[in-house]
Point group: C2
Chain length 133, copies 2
Amino acid sequence: MPVKDSETAVELAPTELLVCTTCRMGQEIPEGGVRPGARLMSALEDMDWPEGVTVKPVECLSNCDEGCSVVLRGGGARWTYVYGRLTPDMAGVVHDGATRYHATDTGLVPWRERPEHFRKNCIARIPPLELPE
Amino acid sequence: MPVKDSETAVELAPTELLVCTTCRMGQEIPEGGVRPGARLMSALEDMDWPEGVTVKPVECLSNCDEGCSVVLRGGGARWTYVYGRLTPDMAGVVHDGATRYHATDTGLVPWRERPEHFRKNCIARIPPLELPE
């Protein structure tokens, strides 16, 4: 697979980072309180992102027992990943992992290049839509 | 949302049931032995399926600590679901859940109509590709 350089990077499919904003991390949240998932989302929204990466809030990824969760997906040729056991202060880790994901055609970031948290806290991955026959 | 009857059911988007065939369920499998995931796949392949449902083997959904796993997805308007903690003898449960999923536009089967195992063992769900803005 050819290495992407800055000139060809624009050919990459858009990446969506979906952030579960309803996550309570098992905590009781007082009325009007900000949920951990919403705090993570807020931190991610404030960051600079590579062109082609969009951060979107979503309601409940049904991974409620495993802390804050995000999904990375993008284009028919990429694997989709669900990562969990995140906390609101981990926006930097998510940014790193999402940026590396976006730099690939397939979503498959080499193991050693993944943030350590992503290596240990992949909840599930889902094959590309364009599944080889 | 209009109720689908048999005349309009053909309008439903195709559904893919992806079955992790590499699952060992944490067991040591002797060389040449059949893995639990492959046994589940084999049982599912032998079943009659509604038109529009395709059963496909996939390699590793990265949910290895949670028993055999399947993914249900289909079309840009449906949620994608990952179910885990399955055993090779649970093809009937998967068939029931997948059939009910396929009968929906959105992938959202009412809670009480989901097989009990699906209610308790949803590993994650991922929003439709056509995410509302």
